[in-house]
């Protein structure tokens, strides 16, 4: 699979996809590098071409907790789309990473200049957020934990 046909980019119509990719530059990161930190300025975002990224939260007095991993085709970062443009989480490359990198102010400007493109990008990012919210709520259920039915089993 390629990022052109899967993941976040698949949510965009071909014309919007091309327009977004025209703003991208290809980057690579070695395993272990930190891509951004919580509360840092969200001035970039990425679409993962290959490799894996861990999203984490710093918990004072405890080790940093990995809360989700992202892989090929997935959008890395959405805080750049909403004020105050600060990262909600940290991110670390778990393996060698290839990605399409975007300058967030340029993409936001393109969204303003072309409302159709802007709507498509916002819609695509909203889908990502909704999917991750749903996944988070599912995990809140602690489905694999001990059952609480009280049945004699």
């Amino acid at each position: 699979m390629t990022t052109e046909a899967s993941g976040f980019l698949a949510t965009l119509a071909p014309a919007h996809r091309s327009r977004l990719l025209a703003l991208a530059r290809e980057v690579s990161f070695p395993a272990g590098v930190r891509l951004f930190e919580e509360d840092g300025r969200a001035d970039r975002f990425w679409i993962v071409r290959s490799g894996s990224v861990a999203l984490d939260i710093h918990v004072p007095g405890r080790r940093t907790a990995v809360v989700e991993t992202l892989g090929e085709g997935e959008l890395l970062g959405w805080s750049w789309l909403f004020e105050p443009y600060r990262w909600h989480l940290g991110a670390r490359a778990r393996s060698a990473l290839l990605a399409a990198e975007f300058d967030a102010p340029k993409v936001r400007e393109a969204c303003v200049q072309d409302p159709g493109f802007g709507l498509a990008v916002n819609h695509g990012v909203a889908q990502v957020i909704a999917r991750r919210l749903k996944a988070t709520r599912t995990r809140l259920l602690d489905l694999y934990g001990p059952p609480d039915t009280g049945a004699a089993r």
Partner: protein, 271 residues
């Protein structure tokens, strides 16, 4: 198909292996006459003498030997988990519908398991691995609460030679190198053609719903999504009604049903 035994037949424990803190795998062999053959996806009623019986899916079938993975969640399952070689139990079965793997011939296979849901899927995976020429690509996607809760970790590693095996956990520790997130996120990296794929899903029902809905959205036909449902099985023969789910008696009409039949039933608050 041979009729299941209505009375428990004596079986002896020949091995016990702890899987996790609360889960163990036991292998049983007949102490006398064996039960009729089990198919992957079917279950047995396993009786801990003096305590009671519970339904346990078969997670391994080797001749007349039956393998069960049991999680201690109550008095009976705790008694079964504590069994050691030489102990005896009573076994009835086989009960219920199987996974129907042969009907998926030619298809890409998606095996999606959550938690202990991997146990009933294990014999299906082993059958698919044993006859690779009959099927397309085999994907095994497994979710667990924590790394230490993953069942059969050595086997999962071994299956990677012939299948795409992906694992994810809800809570990672510092040693965990796999994914973190719900099992549905693994579907992005599975190798399958949605128009010629059959999925087999087992786990907690919210996980089943999320997985099946995601598969349908990707183009998999609901009739080709088979899910294993769980209710309080008691008689195993469709007489007592304890396992009723709407029009289904799951011990007889299930536990494996298609998503076409299951979806509407799982959306009803009480049936």
């Amino acid at each position: 198909m041979t009729a299941p035994s209505a009375v428990p037949l004596p079986y002896r424990v020949v091995s016990h292996r702890d899987e996790t803190d609360d889960t163990a795998t036991i292998v049983l062999e007949p102490a006398g006459a064996p039960l009729p053959p089990f198919a992957p996806g079917q279950f047995a009623m396993v009786y801990a003498f003096g305590v009671g019986d519970v339904p346990l899916s078969v997670c391994g079938i080797d001749g007349n030997r039956l393998t069960h993975t049991v999680r201690a969640v109550g008095a009976i399952s705790s008694a079964l988990r504590a069994l050691r070689p030489g102990d005896c139990v009573g076994v009835r079965g086989p009960f219920g519908t199987g996974w129907g793997l042969p009907e998926a011939a030619g298809d890409d296979l998606l095996v999606v398991a959550g938690g202990i849901g991997l146990a009933p899927l294990r014999p299906l995976v082993l059958a698919a691995l044993a006859t690779p020429e009959r099927y397309g690509r085999l994907n095994v996607l497994v979710g667990a609460r924590e790394p230490g809760d993953l069942l059969y970790p050595a086997e999962l590693t071994g299956w990677q030679a012939d299948a795409r095996v992906l694992t994810t956990v809800d809570r990672a520790d510092e040693r965990w190198q796999g994914d973190v997130g719900v099992v549905t996120t693994l579907l992005d990296r599975a190798s399958f053609d949605p128009h010629s794929a059959t999925a087999f899903v087992c786990g907690p029902e919210p996980m089943i719903r999320a997985t099946a809905d995601d598969l349908v959205q990707r183009g998999v036909q609901p009739d080709r999504i088979r899910v294993s449902l769980e209710r309080t099985m008691h008689c195993g023969t469709g007489h007592c009604g304890h396992c009723q789910l709407g029009p289904l008696l799951l011990c007889r009409d299930g536990p494996v049903v298609t998503w076409t039949r299951a979806r509407s039933l799982l959306l009803v608050r009480e049936l």
